[in-house]
């Protein structure tokens, strides 16, 4: 194809210009297409972090899988956590394809996680001490994830956009699964209601943090500018957080729960929710693996990885022999 040969002869600047034209026209970039280095690196970081967050995200709920209070709940939470592992796997594949030209594999992703170079979502560093936490994670953490992931459904990188489409469809079931647990508690005994309110109080700050700081000045680490430039996402962190409030504040109140923030209200004039900022210094510490459960969960993942190394060795020995 002549288009291909001529593309190779283009200078880097011209390639870049073509690339920008393509994504601005709404075209999708595929794994084998030319892409700017920082686009590739941003995607690898974003998708590897997303993948690992799905996998690490299985751990707080995993605590409650064997303990779920009925056969139906046991089945529901097992299916939910399995889906999360499935999302992790799907995203790892997308990240692996992007890393292949750099000669890197899944092994590097795992090593980066263990070394602390690859971060996972702040919410999954938090404790989940009661059954209500398991419900709340499904309802509000997955609810928040639906909002951030929907924001990237039209991402310029085709493989990621397609993976997100599948993931979002399942996240809707997760939010329903969580909501069903929450509803049972909200309609239950005094103790059940208290358990639920405690869980909401515990998770509120982490939920606000989930969307990231409003601007890079807050923590000096926001990736939102570059992802917007490259059409990976459309809305800013703050817009997403506002969307979350609009969707969930009325639902939370309708269940008879109290918001753990007395200042929270919708300002008609400004057309936005006014709320108490989470402690962004705490956020920085949490994602540096200094959150309440960071070390314990990393240890769990690392231990199982090394403890089962003999299995992977046996399998690779065999595939080499075939």
């Amino acid at each position: 194809m002549p288009v291909v040969t001529s593309f190779r002869r283009l200078s880097e600047e011209e390639k870049y210009e073509r690339f920008m034209q393509r994504i601005e026209a709404g075209e999708k970039i595929e794994a084998d297409d030319w892409m700017p280095e920082d686009y590739r690196m941003t995607l690898i970081k974003l998708i590897a972090m997303h993948a690992i967050s799905e996998i690490m995200g299985a751990l707080p709920e995993k605590e409650w899988v064997p303990k779920a209070p009925s056969l139906r709940r046991k089945l529901g939470i097992m299916a939910k956590v399995q889906d999360e592992m499935g999302h992790g796997q799907l995203l790892l594949r997308v990240a692996e394809d992007l890393m292949a030209p750099l000669g890197k594999t899944r092994e590097e992703i795992m090593q980066d996680l263990f070394k602390g170079d690859l971060k996972f979502h702040n919410v999954f560093h938090m404790p989940a001490p009661t059954w209500a936490d398991a419900g709340l994670i499904g309802w509000l953490v997955d609810g928040a994830a639906i909002i951030t992931q929907t924001n990237m459904l039209d991402a310029s990188y085709g493989p990621y956009a397609r993976a997100l489409k599948r993931i979002c469809a399942e996240e809707v079931f997760h939010a329903q699964h969580g909501e069903s647990i929450i509803l049972a508690l909200a309609e239950g005994t005094k103790e059940q209601k208290e358990m639920l309110q405690d869980a909401l109080n515990r998770w509120w700050e982490a939920l606000l943090m989930f969307f990231g700081p409003a601007s890079s000045e807050t923590t000096g680490a926001s990736k939102q500018d570059i992802t917007i430039k490259y059409r990976i996402r459309t809305k800013t962190n703050e817009q997403l957080r506002q969307d979350f409030f609009t969707k969930y504040v009325p639902r939370i109140l309708a269940l008879g729960l109290k918001l753990p923030d007395e200042t929270m209200h919708f300002d008609e004039k400004q057309g936005k929710w006014i709320y108490k900022q989470p402690d962004w210094n705490k956020f920085k510490e949490i994602i540096r693996n200094n959150g309440p459960k960071s070390k314990e969960r990393l240890r769990l993942r690392e231990l199982s990885y090394y403890h089962n190394a003999w299995v992977r060795e046996a399998l690779s020995g065999q595939s080499a022999a075939v």
């Binding site: 996998i55 299985a58 751990l59 995993k62 605590e63 409650w64 899988v65 064997p66 303990k67 779920a68 209070p69 009925s70 056969l71 139906r72 709940r73 046991k74 089945l75 097992m78 299916a79 956590v81 399995q82 592992m85 499935g86 992790g88 796997q89 790892l92 059954w131 647990i181 049972a184 508690l185 309609e187 239950g188 005994t189 103790e191 059940q192 240890r299 769990l300 993942r301 231990l303 199982s304 403890h307 089962n308 003999w310 299995v311 992977r312 060795e313 046996a314 399998l315 020995g317 065999q318």
Partner: protein
């Protein structure tokens, strides 16, 4: 004799007694092994296996739920109560299936043994397959119908564990050693999986299931070619080293498991969760 509805059981108290006993064995076996499997979640050798294993555990929990439902339909108690409330002395699962996955706790320093997981699940699933094939012709029709449903999912489970078993046992070095140890360990208590317990003869008499000996021979026949393929000896007798779970004999591992799996349920057994 054929029983098509739970209501007919009133006229046959002895039949009912044998049926209840059998249903508890079937339910408790799947329930406890699925529980042990769920402790593995997030800890399997690779992510692909985590997903596949979890899917099998869900199916297995689903099977337990169907059996507990049959018991509920007979009026023995609510399915959730039967699963969560009964003390170990009333449980009828094989002791092999209650054993911990390995040293450590599922949330703290788990050093679970994948070789043991593969062998236990594979041998059990083959025994379950033999049992289900027999139950498809059970004189209690609601049970025969459940067996048909379960059978559809078993094909995949069996293939999954067989593949792991052959791959790891035929690998050289450390893997083969670990697998041989796991096989020896599982056989010490495998008799407890194959037995129908003290009331087994009545179950057979009433046409609920075929005899223990027949089922055992079918299991051996199914495993023979596999053992040849991996070059291991298949014994003809299997132990019950730590007791017969069908008669209510259990280990501390089961008590600990019941405490964990009913932790939330016990906060308030009367409320809806």
């Amino acid at each position: 004799m054929k029983i098509t509805k739970p209501e007919e059981l009133h006229q046959h108290p002895e039949y009912k007694e044998a049926l209840v006993e059998l249903l508890f064995q079937l339910a408790d076996d799947d329930f406890i092994l699925s529980y042990r499997g769920s402790e593995w979640l997030g800890l399997a050798p690779h992510i692909e296996e985590d997903i596949a294993f979890s899917s099998i555990n869900q199916d297995t929990m689903g099977h337990a739920a169907m059996y507990y439902q049959l018991l509920e339909d007979i009026g023995i108690g609510k399915a959730d109560d039967l699963a969560h409330q009964r003390p170990s002395s009333e449980r009828r699962n094989a002791v092999l299936l209650e054993e911990v996955n390995g040293p450590g706790h599922y949330l703290h320093e788990p050093r679970y043994d994948w070789a043991f997981a593969v062998v236990r699940h594979y041998f059990y699933t083959q025994a379950k397959k033999v049992r289900i094939d027999s139950l498809k012709h059970s004189s209690y029709e609601p049970l025969a119908q459940v067996a048909v449903k379960i059978n559809m999912e078993l094909y995949y489970h069996l293939m999954h564990w067989r593949t792991w078993f052959i791959q790891l046992t035929n690998a050289q070095g450390e893997a083969r050693e670990r697998m041989k140890n796991a096989v020896a360990k599982v056989f010490e208590d495998f008799g407890g999986v194959l037995t129908l317990g003290a009331k087994g003869d009545r179950m057979v008499e009433f046409g609920l299931i075929e005899s223990e000996e027949t089922l055992k021979q079918r299991w051996v026949q199914a495993m023979k070619p596999i053992f040849e393929e991996v070059n291991l000896d298949l014994p003809s007798e299997f132990g019950m080293k730590r007791g017969n779970g069908r008669n209510g004999e259990h280990t501390a591992d089961l008590d600990e498991a019941i405490m964990t799996l009913s932790e939330v349920y016990r906060l308030d057994p009367l409320t809806a969760w």
